[in-house]
């Protein structure tokens, strides 16, 4: 294979999988990044345009391994979608150092390093676009979410300087700031703790309902494509009207 590709992290489920599947359906090249090789192979093994990169983004060599996967098969990167992430709720007094480091590594350090690599001319296409996934957690005062919120805040802190540095090259960087999206991550964390009634009470604060990976993929698609060619350094809140309540 040759040509440009889009690197999608968190491609094994949820938002990342929705984005990668959509791009591949259009015949675009994708480097699908996630921890589990078996899941990636099941999802994308039959796709001739996909490269599966089983990489744990917590590892120190994560960026080197992802970029190696890109260069092995493609000329450069036209898109970067950083959808990988996890939550680990804990009140401030119980936030564990190791967990906090893992959160920052996956959510913020990896995109910082990857965008640093992308900033070099041979590595990006002329019209490349990056989309970082953030969360309303970084803006709201949800108890028990400090470490996750701090990591997502770091993502948004990265956004504007990265966009400013890359704009002269024609590379755009934007972020989506998400409310509750019904993903395996949500189902495995707070939803698993709550009763159906408690989940419904939270859903009632989302006039357009909870998000879905496909709805978020629509927004990310906008930022990846030519229709947002004049937009960079921006955070777009996608929350089903939650902030209006």
């Amino acid at each position: 294979m040759s040509g440009a590709c889009t690197v999608v992290t968190g491609a094994s489920s949820g938002i990342g999988a929705a984005v990668a599947t959509r791009l591949l359906a259009r015949g675009e090249n994708v480097v699908a990044v996630a921890r589990r090789a078996d899941v990636l192979a099941k999802l994308y093994g039959d796709s001739p345009n996909a490269v599966c990169a089983a990489v744990d983004l917590e590892s120190p060599d994560a960026t080197a391994r992802v970029t190696a996967a890109v260069k092995e098969r493609f000329d450069n990167v036209r898109g970067f979608v950083h959808a990988a992430g996890f939550v680990s709720p804990a009140p401030l007094g119980l936030v564990q150092d190791e967990t906090a480091h893992r959160l920052f590594s996956v959510h913020a350090l990896f995109p910082l390093q990857f965008l640093g690599w992308l900033a070099k001319r041979p590595n990006h296409a002329d019209d490349a676009a990056a989309v970082l996934v953030s969360s309303l957690a970084a803006h709201e005062g949800d108890c028990g979410n400090a470490a996750y919120a701090a990591a997502k805040g770091a993502v948004e802190g990265l956004l504007r300087p990265a966009a400013a540095e890359l704009a002269p090259r024609g590379v755009r960087v934007n972020a989506v700031v998400l409310g509750v999206v019904d993903t395996p991550m949500a189902q495995g964390s707070w939803m698993a703790r709550c009763t159906p009634e408690q989940i419904d009470a939270r859903r009632a604060r989302y006039p357009l309902g909870f998000g879905t990976p496909e709805k978020v993929a629509d927004v990310i698609d906008f930022f990846l494509g030519e229709t947002s060619a004049w937009v960079t350094g921006q955070c777009l809140v996608a929350d089903g009207g939650h902030q209006l309540t």
Partner: protein, 71 residues
């Protein structure tokens, strides 16, 4: 005091607790304190409780039973 009692006392910000201590009689008790106990059980004992399950627990001994430890 057992390690479990020490951990519960730490979360509740009490000098010590006994097995028959009623969780909700803790000074300043609130949902965040309950949440902290749920997280402590996850981190230290790898036991995951739903909110509904936690709400049925009344004493430190109930919490110990849920964690599968002897208080």
């Amino acid at each position: 005091m057992s390690q479990f009692l020490e951990r519960v006392a730490g979360v509740l910000e009490m000098p010590s607790v006994t097995p028959d201590f009623a969780l909700r009689s803790t000074p300043g008790w609130g949902s965040l304190m309950g949440f902290a106990l749920i997280i402590m059980l996850e981190q230290e004992y790898h036991v995951k409780l739903t909110v509904e399950e936690f709400l049925k627990l009344e004493t430190v001994a109930d919490l110990a039973n849920a964690a599968g430890v002897n208080a």
